[in-house]
Symmetry: C2
Subunit: 144 residues, 2 copies
């Protein structure tokens, strides 16, 4: 019978590694601010783009619109972002970070980059080819 070892099976391994990385990454922002991943993604997107509607955030961070909606609500309650009605289209709500939101962003980003750098360093010479392969995978699965 054709054999399959789960522990050597690519989808399984990718899932586990991604989960472990996310889990570890949570330790980066967890202690100070207790964010969920969707909240972090919204924060990161708004930190990157200053102004954006929920739709745009969803597109950029690859999240379902309900996930974005809830993450935005949560961040709003935390007073890390505020909404403003778009003038061209009153359905749309333009979102921006508040001062506290930008402060949190500025605190988290260096830690996030350090976290990433640490992984890349531990990969050593394998890092380059690995990142190149990730790009190929993104093409293969049309993620860009």
């Amino acid at each position: 019978m054709a054999h399959l070892q789960l522990e050597a099976f690519l989808p399984y391994r990718l899932n586990r590694i991604a989960a472990a990385v996310s889990q570890d990454f949570r330790a980066v922002y967890g202690p100070h601010h207790d964010l969920t991943i969707p909240e972090w993604r919204v924060l990161a997107t708004l930190g990157q783009f200053d102004e954006m509607g929920a739709k745009g955030i969803g597109r950029h961070s690859a999240m379902h619109k309900t996930k974005v909606s809830r993450a935005v609500q949560a961040l709003e309650e935390r007073r890390w972002l505020k909404r403003r009605e778009s003038e061209e289209d009153r359905r749309e709500e333009i979102l921006t970070l508040t001062a506290s939101g930008r402060k949190a962003y500025r605190e988290i980003v260096p830690k996030a980059l350090a976290f990433e750098r640490r992984i890349v360093e531990e990969l050593g010479t394998e890092a380059g080819p690995f990142l190149a392969a990730l790009e190929r995978l993104e093409e293969i699965f049309r993620l860009r």
Copy 2:
């Protein structure tokens, strides 16, 4: 201000890629049998080991015991596996695939391997270094 591009951030990319791979892989077993990922993992583990308790399955497939418990229930209702009380330890339930379970397993495994092979082929010369990097990551995050 230190900059972070979400779309270039490793944890984000890994999560997206893993999700896309799982999603695509679902198309492999989805059409015929409509399995969840936990159910597939239990099936794969029992296909690999013939007999095992829920605890062992959880350890081997990196799943929480409640997830295993529910996946086992689902597969039992499908009549793809059966339970038998262990004779050494009456707390433990030894699980084995039924004939239908083994049949499904034999149908899915070649497709799963083909799916994996296709990805590796599309990676071409980058496949080797990529898989090596995955092993490094598994070490770094103590997944083995």
